[in-house]
């Protein structure tokens, strides 16, 4: 029975779910005995011949690939996941980038700071007990869910809008699976 409920998947915790299971991908890089010469070549050779079984450390070569620096500034950062955050009763919406948070506790901390309120502790059965406000979100299907119900990664990809609801209204949300 316990295994069916899959507690681990819904466990509220810091860090990315599934981290225990991830495997290192093996990358093969072309061997190149002919290229001796310059320093930067040597750097890349060391990188590629380091080991065959572990991913090669990515060697930093100056000016490669040939992309202008301002373009690199824009490209290297991954696009953000921007969602609007509304709070019942407040006249203004805020917009936040979910990408910058590692997990729920960081997100909730940020929301508490942003809106000057306390959110309380999450439990699967009772939602956000002991607080005036409960953070909820609208997902891809338009359903209103309680923040914390699903693993962090799933939340990041499905959350469309955040809504900080008054505690009483959020009661019915705790049991959406």
């Amino acid at each position: 029975m316990e295994s069916d409920l899959n507690f681990k998947a819904t466990e509220l915790r810091l860090g990315l779910p599934g981290r225990d299971e991830c495997e290192e991908t093996v990358k093969s890089t072309p061997k190149n005995n002919k290229r001796a010469s310059s320093e930067s070549n040597i750097r890349s050779e060391i990188a590629s011949s380091a080991t065959e079984t572990h991913p090669a450390p990515k060697a930093q070569i100056v000016g490669w690939p040939p992309v202008r620096s301002y373009r690199k500034k824009h490209s290297e950062s991954e696009p953000g996941i921007y969602v609007k955050v509304s709070m019942d009763g407040a006249p203004y919406l805020r917009k936040i980038d979910l990408k910058i948070y590692d997990g729920y506790s960081q997100l909730l901390q940020a929301l508490e700071n942003m809106f000057k309120l306390s959110i309380g502790d999450y439990s699967e059965r009772e939602g956000y007990k002991g607080s005036e406000y409960s953070p909820a979100y609208e997902d891809k299907d338009g359903d209103l869910m309680l923040v914390g119900d699903v693993p962090w990664d799933m939340f990041k990809s499905s959350c469309k809008k955040l809504r900080i609801m008054k505690g009483s209204e959020a009661k019915g949300l705790g049991f959406c699976a």
Binding site: R35, S44, S48, V62, L93
Partner: protein, 595 residues
């Protein structure tokens, strides 16, 4: 006209007016010549004309109004201003292209100041300035704005050394400013509200491009400027302009033809319950819009707003937009007239297939990398290139960054797109072979130079042996620009190119095993070139000295990263050599040694 004639009629005493007016046949010829030469616009034609004889040289010099200096150190400002006296437009290029990729230390040179000093007395009527990879200070901009009252167009590309203070000078003092375009410049934020410095009387603006200026803009001042500029056709905003602000500007300027959309993203603070503006309607109102760019922080929800203008778009720059294939498709499927497309590889091969399906008139494609890291896999591959080559037969210019590429795909492109003039393929992984055959990329690039008979510019990458260069030397007869990185086996490679490509003008090489023998093999050709760049290759100091001795009109610069560094390595870190009428420049920094 008469003031410009060299011959003066001395000792004329005849009272008869017709005799006073009588000109020698030489003088008459010169007047005719000047009147005719006025119509020659191409600098190549003018150069040819100036070589005919002395009087043609003189006449041409007096009538040339557009000056183009491809290398600011090839000729001195004094020499230029003494020969050409009636110039209205000046274009100067400074640093070599590899400086864009941090391969040239700061403070190397290319200062605009020396040109200003010479031009100020002679070119009072200067109307247009175009600078690329030059160093310009705020003082230079102030000087320019203050001393050239006829200045209308300022275009700065990849320039640095100035900030928003300099822009404020331009805004406030260039009374007739028509074009102010800053493209890919490094503009420091001096906290100066430069937009506010355009006077209320300034109503002649036709083009304003500041997407590279990375500092906040006074939006109200910008909006007022747009409102009072009825001729404004090109407006390229920076990422500090939100989509809401973009809307307000578009509503004021429906006559725009070129629009850089800024961030294309809402601001963080949105009034609760406020209706979002009808962005699509704003786009629909811009009936002349043919060129779109920006999208620096795009929120893909708003892509649909572009629908009304897609059918008329000629140029689309999505190279800052992190969008996937589906999102691209929603836009590109309507862009039937597109001629130029810049995108990020986030669109994947699938996105490129969509481009190939719709954009049958595409002339230029650039695919930039989202992730600069060396990876085994990437989002775009040979599949995308092949699809493009099949769908976009009229292609003339391709720039393609990828992690893997096959000879088959490159060869297919060489056959499907015979009009290619520019082919730049960057396989990010160093020395990467064809992943399917395990072979070098020689055959693919060989096919390009062989089949694309109009090819003038080529950039190679991946695992390449000397054979690739043999092909380039054999078939690349029209090649003018060649970029090489991490390629070749031996001196033979470079020799093939220097012997075989008579039209070669710009050659830039990095991290390739070419040495002294190869360098010597180009002696017959270096005076015909604008420059040769070789960094992290195998060229010795001695060889450079020999070249400098044998070719006195060549400036041979040896550039090291550090000024104090002892010359421990036997090889020259960076060799940059160019023809020049002036000899070694006086403004070289300590880390540059000129032979």
């Amino acid at each position: 006209m008469s003031g410009s004639l060299d011959h003066s009629d001395k000792g004329q005493t005849a009272p008869d007016l017709s005799i006073q007016m009588a000109l020698s046949s030489d003088q008459a010829l010169e007047i005719v010549l000047e009147n005719v030469l006025c119509f020659l616009s191409s600098r190549h034609d003018r150069n040819a004309a100036s070589l005919v004889c002395k009087s043609w040289y003189r006449a041409e010099a007096l009538t040339r109004s557009e000056l183009f200096i491809g290398n600011c150190y090839s000729v001195s400002p004094q020499r230029v201003t003494q020969r050409f006296r009636q110039v209205r437009s000046v274009s100067i290029k400074g640093k070599p292209r590899f400086s864009d990729f941090s391969l040239l230390p700061r403070n190397w040179g290319a200062y605009f100041a020396t040109w200003l000093v010479s031009m100020v007395d002679v070119y009072r009527g200067l109307e247009k300035v175009y600078l690329k990879r030059m160093c310009i200070t705020d003082d230079d901009l102030a000087f320019l704005a203050h001393n050239f009252p006829a200045l209308k167009d300022i275009v700065l590309v990849c320039c640095e050394g100035f900030g928003t203070s300099g822009l404020a000078f331009v805004a406030s003092e260039c009374r007739n400013i028509r074009v102010l375009d800053l493209i890919d410049c490094d503009v420091s934020d001096d906290d100066e509200d430069w937009i506010s410095w355009f006077p209320e009387s300034s109503t002649s603006l036709e083009s304003l491009t500041f997407d590279c200026v990375e500092s906040p803009i006074n939006f109200e001042a910008l909006e007022r400027l747009v409102i009072r500029s009825p001729s404004l056709k090109k407006l390229c905003l920076n990422e500090y302009i939100t989509i809401g602000q973009l809307y307000r500007l578009m509503v004021r300027a429906p006559q725009l033809t070129h629009l850089g959309t800024g961030s294309f993203s809402p601001s963080e603070l949105v009034v609760h319950g406020e209706q979002e503006p009808d962005y699509a309607a704003a786009f629909a109102a811009c009936k002349s819009l043919i060129c779109l760019s920006g999208f620096k922080e795009i929120v893909p929800d708003h892509l649909a707003a572009l629908n009304p203008v897609c059918a008329n778009l000629v140029t689309l720059n999505f190279s800052y937009a992190h969008i996937n294939a589906e999102q691209l498709k929603s836009v590109i499927s309507r862009c039937v007239k597109l001629k130029s497309l810049w995108v990020l590889d986030s669109i994947t091969d699938e996105g490129l297939q969509a481009v190939a399906a719709t954009c049958k008139d595409l002339l230029e494609l650039r695919v930039f990398p989202t992730d600069a890291a060396d990876d085994a896999d990437g989002p775009v591959t040979e599949v995308g290139l092949l699809a493009i080559s099949v769908g976009c037969r009229k292609l003339r210019s391709v720039l393609y960054f990828c992690q893997r590429m096959t000879n088959t795909a490159v060869t297919a492109m060489s056959k499907n797109c015979p009009d290619l003039e520019v082919f730049r393929l960057c396989i990010i992984g160093l020395h990467r072979p064809d992943p399917v055959t395990g072979e070098a990329m020689d055959e693919g690039f060989g096919a390009i130079v062989k089949n694309c008979k109009k090819l003038t510019r080529l950039a190679v990458s991946g695992l390449l042996t000397d054979k690739a260069f043999c092909y380039i030397g054999q078939y690349g007869k029209l090649l003018r620009t060649l970029s090489v990185a991490f390629a070749g086996d031996s001196d033979l490679g470079l020799r093939y190119v220097l012997k075989g490509c008579p039209m070669l003008r710009k050659l830039e090489i990095r991290d390739s095993p070419f040495g002294d023998l190869a360098l010597h093999s180009g002696l017959h050709h270096y005076y015909n070139m604008r420059f040769l760049w070789m960094s992290s290759c195998r060229v010795t100091h001695k060889a450079c000295e020999q070249i400098a001795r044998q070719l006195p009109r060549l400036v041979v610069e040896m550039i090291s990263k550090d000024e104090d560094k002892e010359e421990t390595s036997e090889y020259v870190e960076t060799l940059y050599m160019y023809r020049s009428l002036e000899g070694p420049r006086a403004d070289a920094p300590g880390f540059v040694r000129i032979l």
